[in-house]
C-alpha cells in the first residue's frame, strides 16, 4: 500500500517531494532515537557481555588475577574425570529432566486443553485453577513440594500408602530425586495448557463442519483436523519449553542443592556454583558458552525437523488471528 503511493507521487512537484523526503528522514531519525534504549541495552547488557564471556572463557581466573590459558578451560570442561569437571554429570541430569518434563508437561497441557475446548461450562474457572501454580514464585513452589515429598510426613507418600505402596525417600534418594523435580514441573503445566487452548480455539470451525458432513467421527476429526492444525503451536511450545527447562535452577538450588550425590546437579546450578561459589569466572564462562551452543543447536534441530511434522495452513483460506 505504501509502495504504491510512493510510485504515484507526482514527479513534477519538486517542492512536495522535497518536503516529503525530509519528513521521511525526520521520521527515521525519530525512530532511531526511540529505539535507542533497546539498542544501548542490547549492546551493554547482551552483545557486549556475550563477547566478553567468550573472551573470558580463554582465561583462568580467581578472585585476584586472570591468566590466558587458551582452550584449556574447554579441554578440562569435557573431561570425564569428575574431580576436574562435572559437565557430563550436569548435562546428563539436565537432559534427563528435560526429556521427561517436556513430554509430560506438554502432554498434560494438551489433554487439559482438549477437554476444555469441548464447549464445557465453567471453562474460565478451570483455566484459572490450572494456571494457578504457574503464577506463584518458584521458591514458594519448591518449599511447598519439599514438604509434599517429605519421606515420613509428606502427603505424597501418604497417598501412595493408601494404595499399598511404600513411598521412596524422594529428594533424599539419588534414584528418585530427579523424578521428584519432574513431577513438580508437571504440576505447573498450566502455561502450556493456555497456549494449546488458544491454538485449538483458533482452528476454523468450517473445517470440522466440512469433515463431519463427509461422515467423519470424533476420532477422525481429531486425527485429520485437530492434530495437524495444532502442530505450529506444538513447535512454538517445544522450542520455548526446551529453552526454558534447560535453564531449570530454582527447584534444584532450593530443594536439593544438587544432591544427593550430585544426582540433581542441573547445568545452571553447576554454572552458578563454579561462578559464584568458587569464583572461577573463566571456567564458568566456558560452561556458559557450551550451554548456549547446546541450546542453539537443539533449537535449530527442532526448526529443521519441523518441515517434516509441522503443518502450515497456507492453502486454506481461513487465516488465524
Amino acid at each position: 500500500m505504501t509502495v504504491s503511493t510512493e510510485v504515484d507521487q507526482p514527479r513534477w512537484d519538486k517542492r512536495l517531494r522535497g518536503s516529503r523526503l525530509t519528513q521521511r528522514k525526520r521520521e527515521a531519525i525519530w525512530a532511531y532515537v526511540l529505539v535507542s534504549p533497546w539498542i544501548i541495552g542490547f549492546l551493554a547488557f547482551t552483545l557486549g557481555p556475550m563477547l566478553a564471556s567468550l573472551g573470558l572463557s580463554f582465561f583462568e581466573t580467581d578472585m585476584l588475577a586472570a591468566k590466558f590459558v587458551g582452550i584449556e578451560n574447554y579441554r578440562r570442561l569435557f573431561s570425564t574425570d569428575v574431580t576436574i569437571s562435572l559437565f557430563w554429570t550436569a548435562l546428563f541430569n539436565t537432559a534427563y529432566y528435560v526429556s521427561l518434563s517436556i513430554p509430560l508437561t506438554m502432554g498434560a497441557g494438551f489433554c487439559i486443553a482438549l477437554l476444555l475446548n469441548q464447549n464445557i461450562s465453567g471453562q474460565s474457572s478451570y483455566r484459572v485453577i490450572y494456571y494457578l501454580p504457574a503464577v506463584i514464585p518458584g521458591i514458594a513452589v519448591s518449599l511447598l513440594w519439599m514438604w509434599l515429598f517429605h519421606p515420613e510426613f509428606g502427603i505424597i507418600n501418604w497417598l501412595l500408602s493408601l494404595v499399598g505402596i511404600a513411598g521412596p525417600r524422594w529428594l533424599f534418594d539419588r534414584r528418585t530425586a530427579k523424578l521428584a523435580l519432574v513431577i513438580m514441573s508437571v504440576w505447573g503445566a498450566g502455561g502450556n495448557m493456555l497456549i494449546f487452548l488458544a491454538g485449538l480455539q483458533g482452528i476454523p470451525t468450517q473445517l470440522y463442519e466440512a469433515v463431519t458432513i463427509d461422515g467423519a467421527g470424533a476420532w477422525r476429526r481429531f486425527i485429520h483436523i485437530t492434530l495437524p492444525m495444532i502442530t505450529p503451536t506444538m513447535l512454538f511450545l517445544l522450542v520455548t519449553n526446551v529453552i526454558g527447562s534447560f535453564q531449570v535452577f530454582t527447584s534444584a538450588y532450593v530443594m536439593t542443592q544438587g544432591g544427593p550425590a550430585n544426582s540433581t546437579l542441573m547445568y545452571v546450578l553447576y554454572l552458578y556454583n563454579v561462578a559464584f561459589r568458587q569464583y572461577r569466572m573463566g571456567f564458568a564462562s566456558a560452561l556458559a558458552w557450551v550451554f548456549f551452543i547446546i541450546i542453539m543447536m537443539l533449537t535449530i534441530l527442532i526448526f529443521r525437523s519441523s518441515s517434516a511434522w509441522v503443518y502450515y495452513e497456507t492453502e486454506i483460506g481461513g487465516r488465524r488471528s
Binding site: R26, Y32, P37, G48, A134, I139, F153, M281
Partner: protein, 292 residues
C-alpha cells in the same frame, strides 16, 4: 410412518444422552485434575495453622485442631530482620522494574510498529532472536561489570536493565499497536501531529489494556525473580522476600509451619494480581507465549 418418526426420536434422544454422558465424564476428569492442582495449596494452608505436634503425624491431619493463628505472628518475627523489610524490598524492586519496563517498551515498540526507518526489519529480527538467548551466557560478564561499577549489594543491577526494553515486552506491545487502525495515524499526521504527538496523543491512550497486561507481568515476574537477587545482593536487610525464604530454608532447622506461612505470604501478591486481572493476564500469555 409413525415407526420412522419414533426411531428418529429415539435416535435424537440417544444422541443427546451420549452428549450428556460425555459432558459428565469431561467434568469428572477436569475436576479430578483441579483437585490435584489444589491439594498442595490446601496442604500448605493446613500446615501453616497446625500446632507443632500435629505436623509430624502420619497419617496426616488435614484440619488443624486447634487453629494456631499464632504461627503467623511467630513467622513474621522468625528472621533476624522483621518480615516487612523483605516485603518492602520486594515491593520497591518490583515497582521500579515495572516502571522501567513500561517506559522503555512502549516507546521502543512504537518505533517498531509505526515508524519506517532503514534496518527496522533486521533490528526487529535481532530483538526476537534475543528471546532464545539463555541469560547464563551474559551473567558472568554482567556480574563483573556491575562489580566494577560498585553496584553489587544494591538494586541497580536488577532495576537499571529494565529501563532498556526487552524482547518479550517489545513483541507484546508491537502486537498490540498493530491492532490500532493505521487510519488514525494518517488522520493525526494530516492534522499536523508529529511523531511524539502521535505517540502520546494517539497510541498511548489507546493501549491502556496492553499497558495493564505488561504491568501485571512485570510486577509478578520481578516479585518472583530469584537468580538475579541471589547473585547481586549480599546483606540480609536488602533481600527481597524470595531470597529471604531460601535463606530460611538453608539456615534454620526446617520449621514447616513457619516456612508455609512465609511461602503463603510470598505467593499472595502475584496470586491476588492474577485473580483481579485474570482475563488480561491470560490474554497476555496467549499473545506472547510467556509462561510463568
Amino acid at each position: 410412518m409413525t415407526g420412522a418418526l419414533d426411531t428418529l426420536r429415539t435416535l435424537r434422544q440417544s444422541k443427546e444422552w451420549t452428549r450428556r454422558v460425555q459432558v459428565v465424564v469431561i467434568h469428572g476428569v477436569l475436576l479430578i485434575g483441579a483437585v490435584i492442582v489444589l491439594i498442595p495449596f490446601l496442604w500448605m494452608l493446613s500446615t501453616s495453622l497446625k500446632p507443632p505436634h500435629q505436623i509430624r503425624k502420619f497419617p496426616p491431619v488435614w484440619i488443624p485442631k486447634p487453629f494456631v493463628w499464632s504461627n503467623y505472628v511467630r513467622a513474621v518475627t522468625i528472621f533476624p530482620v522483621p518480615l516487612w523489610v523483605f516485603v518492602h524490598n520486594s515491593l520497591l524492586m518490583s515497582l521500579f522494574i515495572t516502571i522501567g519496563t513500561l517506559m522503555s517498551n512502549t516507546i521502543v515498540a512504537f518505533a517498531f510498529a509505526r515508524l519506517r526507518f532503514p534496518g527496522s526489519r533486521i533490528l526487529f529480527l535481532v530483538v526476537l532472536s534475543t528471546m532464545m538467548l539463555p541469560g547464563q551466557v551474559t551473567m558472568i560478564p554482567l556480574f563483573i561489570l556491575f562489580n566494577k561499577l560498585g553496584w553489587i549489594g544494591t538494586y541497580k543491577p536488577l532495576i537499571v536493565p529494565a529501563f532498556f526494553a526487552d524482547a518479550y515486552d517489545i513483541f507484546l506491545m508491537r502486537q498490540f499497536y498493530a491492532t490500532i487502525p493505521q487510519e488514525l495515524d494518517d488522520a493525526a499526521r494530516i492534522d499536523g501531529c508529529g511523531v511524539l504527538g502521535l505517540f502520546f496523543r494517539i497510541m498511548l491512550p489507546l493501549s491502556k489494556p496492553a499497558l495493564g497486561i505488561m504491568a501485571i507481568f512485570a510486577f509478578s515476574w520481578s516479585w518472583n525473580y530469584f537468580l538475579g537477587p541471589l547473585i547481586y545482593l549480599n546483606r540480609m536487610e536488602t533481600f527481597p522476600l524470595a531470597i529471604a525464604l531460601s535463606y530460611l530454608r538453608a539456615t534454620y532447622r526446617v520449621l514447616w509451619s513457619e516456612l508455609m506461612v512465609v511461602s503463603f505470604i510470598a505467593m499472595l501478591p502475584p496470586l491476588i494480581l492474577f485473580f483481579i486481572a485474570q482475563r488480561s493476564y491470560i490474554q497476555g500469555i496467549v499473545i506472547t507465549g510467556v509462561k510463568g
